[in-house]
Structure formats: C-alpha cells, structure tokens
C-alpha cells in the first residue's frame, strides 16, 4: 500500500526564521526515502482548514511583529480545526514563536496580552533576558522517553510556564529551556509538541522526525505502522557530537 501525507506549514511564509525550514526538509526527505508521498502546503491568514486537510502540522519561529498579526488570526476562529485535529491525535511540532502562539497567551513587556490557540496549557511572558545557546534535554514525556535526548539551539526572551496539567517535553541537561528557572523544556499534549529547539531540530534528532511521521500515518490510516529503518549514520554522528561537545 502506498502511503501519503499532507503536511500543513502554519504561517510558513511569515514564520520561517532560525532555520526551522530544516524540519520540513527533514520530514519530506525521510518520507520520500521510504516511498511515502508527501505534500507540503503553506497555511496563512484567513485560510480555513477542513477536517482531513492535514495529517501533520508544523509551526516555526518568527519575528515578534508578525506574531501579533498571527494571534489575531488564530484567535479569530480560522484555525479551530487545528485544535480539533490535535484532539484527534494528529501530530504537530511547534517551535519558539509557534509554540508560544499555541499556548494560552503571550504577555509582551508593553501592551496587551497576545492570545494563543490554547492547545498547550502554558503561558509566556516577555523578559529582558535573551536565552541563547545550545540546548540539550532528556525526554521525559510518555511514549517519547525511549528516544533519549534531543539536541537543539535556543534563542528566545519569552519565558514559558506550564500551568495545571501541562506535561513538559523534557528536562534540561544543558541550556535554559522553557524559562531558565524550573528545568523544564517544551510541552506535550497528545501528539502535539511545543519547544524552543531550533538547530534545526529534526535533522539532528531523526528519531523524533520518525515518531511524527509514524504517528501521522497511524492516525490517518487507523492502524499500527512500522517505518522502514534508514541509514542514520550522519544523523546520529551529529546528534552525539553535540552531546559530546556541550554536555560530557
């Protein structure tokens, strides 16, 4: 059976800094290498999403100014289907600005709160501290912990806090994570992941890329799916190299 996936790149035309496109490239290639058809589509302002349009979502980081405009769109009802899809188990990866916008709100230093889509039980407040550097975490979330560690690069001044029921993605081994205070990084809700890991994240963490692809296929086709293994020599070497240089 020939599988196919449609990936929705949320606000990909506006939110595409810090190399987050590398995640899209990685998902695409790792599908293609296994003979899985893959289409990637930009989702932008005012676009309405219908049930079944997308099998996997990606939402990257961007610039502050754009985020206010996106917030208006997200809270204006145009993207409610994303929330419904996540409830159904459709996987989603969001990073930095994307992660913040899928929480309850972002409180800038000046001005009113910027509302989010409310998928993750988190909120974010602006700080004057810029948290920059290589970030290594131990995955602690159920179903992901067998992956072990994730490596990435963070660059944010927003501090994110988990609220009641919020499950962190991982525990910080090196770096700041959500807020540089409580040792947590990211948030997981069902198959949706939010985190501060640029780098790009997925090229150096191929197991996470495959987890997203596998979950997307399983939800779409309603059965258990095993992905064909790939030669991840270079990927693992890059992953281990970061841990060796910045942690050990």
């Amino acid at each position: 059976m020939k599988f196919s996936l449609t990936i929705g790149h949320l606000y990909g035309l506006q939110m595409n800094t810090y190399g987050d496109n590398g995640n899209i490239i990685t998902l695409k290639k790792r599908c293609e290498w296994r003979g899985i058809d893959v289409a990637i589509k930009y989702i932008t302002y005012v676009d309405e999403i219908k049930e079944g349009d997308y099998d996997l979502y990606f939402f990257g980081g961007g610039q502050d100014q754009t985020q206010a405009l996106i917030s208006r769109d997200l809270t204006g009802g145009f993207k409610d289907q994303v929330k419904k899809d996540v409830e159904k188990g459709v996987p989603l990866l969001s990073i930095c600005g994307g992660y913040q916008l899928l929480g309850a709100y972002y409180q800038p230093q000046k001005g009113p709160k910027i509302g989010g889509l409310g998928i993750f039980p988190i909120y974010t407040t602006a700080s004057s501290e810029r948290m920059i550097g290589n970030l290594v975490i131990d995955l602690v979330s159920d179903g992901l912990e067998m992956i072990g560690k994730l490596v990435g690069f963070e660059n944010h001044s927003g501090k994110t806090y988990l609220t009641e029921g919020g499950k962190p993605l991982g525990k910080v081994v090196k770096g700041f994570g959500n807020n540089g205070e409580d040792g947590t990084e990211g948030c997981v809700y069902k198959n949706a992941i939010g985190c501060y890991m640029h780098g790009s994240l997925l090229p150096k963490n191929p197991q996470l890329a495959d987890w997203l692809i596998k979950r997307a296929l399983e939800v779409k086709y309603g059965k258990k799916i095993e992905l064909e293994p790939l030669n991840d020599g270079l990927e693992n070497q890059a992953h281990e190299g970061i841990i060796k240089r910045f942690v050990d």
């Binding site: 899209i24 270079l234 890059a238």
Partner: protein, 472 residues
C-alpha cells in the same frame, strides 16, 4: 582638553599595539579614548568636508572598498575604517590615527565609514554624514542583533530624528530597505533619496510584507531618483557586463567579479560617485584594477589548479554565491565547505537550513516545493538571473566537509540531495584542504564561514600558496 588627552592616550595605545604586534590597533585606541572623550567621533569627523556612512547586512566592506578605490583614483583623499571594525570604537581608532596631536584633521576630502546595522543608530548622529547608504537587511547572526524587523524599524526611527540635510541612497531591490523610501514622505522637508536596483531581480523578504502593510498602507508612492542596472552579459567567474541607467544618462560597465551581490555593491558605490559629481567615463578603467575585499571572492593557484574561495555567512549571501557557482560546476571539480560556530560566525548554525544548498545541484529549494494557493504577485522567479539552474546531480562532486560544525553541515548537504557516500568529513581545516587539493582534476571551490576563512588564509600563506595574510 579632554579631546587632546583622549587623542594622546589613543595614539599611545595605537603605538603600543603595533609595537607589541597585539592586534592591528583597529579597536582598542578608540575604545579607551572614547572613555575620556565620548564626543571624540563627532569632534574629529566633522572636520572632514564630506562624510559617507554605509550600513546593511551584506556588502559593507566590499562597497566601501570599491568606493574608496574609485574615488581615490580621482585624487580624492579618503579616510575610512578599513579593517572591518565597524563599531564606534573602530571609527574613533581611524580618526585618532589620522589626526595630529592637537586634534586637527587635515588633508582629507572624504570620510567613508562602514557601520554595523545597530551601531548606525548612534554613530550616525556623531558623524552627521552628508550621504547615508542602506545596502540591505538580511538575517545575519540574529543572536547578536535581535530581529530583522527591529533593525529596519530602528533605522526609520533614527532617520526621523535627523536634523541635518543628508542624501539617502537605498537599495530599492531589497524589500526591507526599500521601505526606507517612505521616510521621505513623512516630513514637510523630505530627505533626498536615491534608489538603486537590478532589473528583474528582487531581494525578497517574506517578513517585510507585514512591515509594508502595517506601516505604509496609507502612504503615497515616494519620490526618488532611480539607478537601474540591466545585466547584458554573464562572464561566469570573470564577472558580468551591466548597463546602468541613471538620471543623467546611461553607461555600460564590466564588473570584473562574479555574483549578483557585486552588482548591488557596485550600484551603491556608483550612486555615491554620481553624487560627488565625479566623471562617470573614468569608472571602467578604475574598476578594472579593483580587487574585491579580502577573501570574499578570491582566486589563487595551488599546484597549477584553480582554487576559488567564496565567503558564506548567512542564507542570502550563501544563496547568491550558490547561484553564481551552479552554472560553473563541471565534472572533476570539487567543493570544500567549512562551517564554524565561533562568535564571529554566529554561534547558531541553524542558518544553514535557510541557505539553499540545493541550488548547487540545480535542485529546488524547500520554499519552492511548498504549495501555496494564493498568488504572490511580486514573488520573483527563482533560478539565476541568467538562466535556469543547471542540473549538477550527476556530477560526482565529493564534497569535503570541514569546520567545528562539520557534522551539521554534512547533514545539510545530505538533505540537499548530495550523495553521502561521497562525503569526506574532516573537521580539521588543514587536513581538509590537503585532501581537497590531492589529485584534483578540475577546480576547487571553497565556501568557508568567516573564522574558517581566516584560518584558511593562514594555512595557505604557511604553505606558500599565498603571499600575504591580510591584504588591506
């Protein structure tokens, strides 16, 4: 008196650093002298009859070098911060080295100052230049500067506070700097503005759409004088022939270096040259003798083989380099790519995923592969200006991958479509260079980041392939 004291201290430090050979004295004298006399730059620079500041992400050094070369050929005596030291201390150091012991600057006609994007906002009020050049605003080491939107917005804010009468020269082909035209409209007494661009080419920034929409939706079309370059002929690695249309006429110029970005840099220099009322007819001859900024494009011979070095430091710059190289690659050619993550390179290497290494092979970048259902009217067609990209996927390019972040780079090339069976990963740059030049049939193209470039220069000098380390 403070000024004199500051100058004396600065000159003493300059002497010591040069005597002890600790650095080139391009920052320290200014740094300490400014602590004694914070207004040093304004007091000294305003003695120079004309000053020009040049800012932007890419091409500052090339543009000011090119301009310097062109105007000096017309017997204009220039002063400039020549060693890429583009913060206030760098400007101060240059001024200290050029003033007499009493704080008098004589014998100079023109100051050419390249300023860092952020430093611009303060230093421009010290210098109060007659001409300001805005080259472009790309993403570059965001960990140092904050975000591109902010960089452009700060420029606007600064321009609104300008209380003298400068002329602006802006890159109208860059969707970020093009917004600077709009500042023109705000005042009763608008700033004079010149705009340059390359026909059928746009430096596109998606993020600047919101800047345009938000800030300028209610503004009229701004007025400016336009300088337009039309590419007539591509000479490959030897450069290109362009025709330039400007307010008073038209001229054909052979730009002796490859890369579209050099047309932009040249246009910026051309606009200044025009404003200074220098004879356009002399340009070609003077341009022929121009060698581009250190290492940014360099051609040397290693054991009779051609070796070309192109600095890559951010996605936009890298893409233009790749577009230049794509049609040139032939069987037998090799690539050596080196990625470092030192402070001067930017510690975040994520940018390699925004750079379209796919272009080298003639493949499509991820942005082109993503489907969009709405029409981006002004979105430019991808590919080089001269032709469609060439399919190099059958060439066995055997990339040699080096630098502290060689592993990241190897992954990037693998996902760009290079066959990882042919990779040689060698983090040590000297070993990588040995391996790249050994049994080389064709030519070697080297793409290093900034500190890898410095390291490479040193190795090439030690091996006797190059005579001078830093040619400034």
């Amino acid at each position: 008196m403070r000024l004199i004291l500051a100058i004396w201290l600065g000159k003493l430090i300059l002497f010591l650093t040069q005597f002890l050979k600790k650095g080139g004295g391009s920052a320290a004298p200014g740094l300490y002298a400014l602590k004694i006399e914070p207004n040093l730059v304004s007091k000294l620079s305003r003695q120079i009859p004309q000053n020009i500041v040049i800012t932007g992400t890419n091409g500052k050094t090339t543009t000011s070098r090119m301009l310097n070369h062109l105007v000096k050929s017309q017997n204009i005596k220039t002063l400039r911060n020549s060693t890429g030291s583009n913060l206030e201390r760098g400007v101060a150091s240059t001024l200290i080295a050029s003033t007499d012991w009493l704080g008098q600057i004589r014998d100079f006609d023109l100051g050419i100052w390249e300023l860092d994007e952020a430093a611009f906002n303060t230093v421009v009020f010290e210098i109060k230049p007659q001409i300001m050049v805005f080259l472009n605003a790309f993403r570059d080491q965001l960990d140092r500067y904050g975000e591109v939107d902010t960089v452009v917005k700060k420029w606007w804010e600064s321009l609104e506070k300008v209380d003298w009468d400068p002329t602006l020269i802006v890159n109208g082909g860059d969707t970020n700097t093009a917004t600077i035209h709009a500042v023109n409209e705000d005042e009763d007494n608008p700033l004079k503005c010149l705009s340059f661009r390359v026909k059928n080419h746009v430096l596109w920034h998606e993020s600047s759409i919101s800047l345009h929409e938000k800030e300028h939706s209610n503004k009229k079309e701004p007025l400016y004088a336009e300088f337009l370059a039309i590419i007539k002929k591509n000479l490959g690695l030897l450069g290109m022939v362009v025709s330039i249309e400007y307010p008073a006429g038209k001229v054909e110029i052979n730009i002796p270096v490859p890369g579209i970005y050099h047309i932009y840099d040249f246009l910026a220099a051309f606009c200044v040259y025009y404003l200074l009322k220098l004879p356009i007819n002399n340009l070609q001859k003077d341009l022929e003798s121009f060698s581009p900024a250190f290492g940014r494009v360099e051609h040397i011979k290693v054991s009779d083989k051609d070796v070309y070095t192109f600095l890559i430091k951010n996605p936009a710059g890298a893409n233009t380099v790749f577009e230049t190289i794509n049609p040139e690659l032939k069987a037998g050619d090799r690539l050596l790519v080196a990625l470092n993550d030192n402070l001067a390179d930017g510690t975040d290497v994520s940018w390699i995923w925004d750079a379209d290494f796919e272009i080298l092979l003639g493949g499509k970048s991820i942005k082109e592969l993503i489907e969009t259902h709405f029409d981006y009217k002004s979105k430019p067609k991808k590919g080089t200006l001269f032709s469609d990209l060439k399919d190099n996927s059958k060439l066995k390019l055997e990339p040699i991958i080096s630098g502290k972040r060689a592993n990241d780079l190897a992954l990037r090339l693998k996902y760009a479509g290079f066959d990882d069976k042919n990779f040689k990963i060698e983090p040590n740059l000297e070993e990588a260079l040995n391996s790249a030049t050994k049994d080389l049939d064709g030519r070697l193209f080297i793409f290093p980041t900034y500190t890898a470039l410095l390291e490479l220069q040193k190795i090439l000098v030690q091996k006797g392939h190059k005579h001078q380390y830093w040619k400034e």
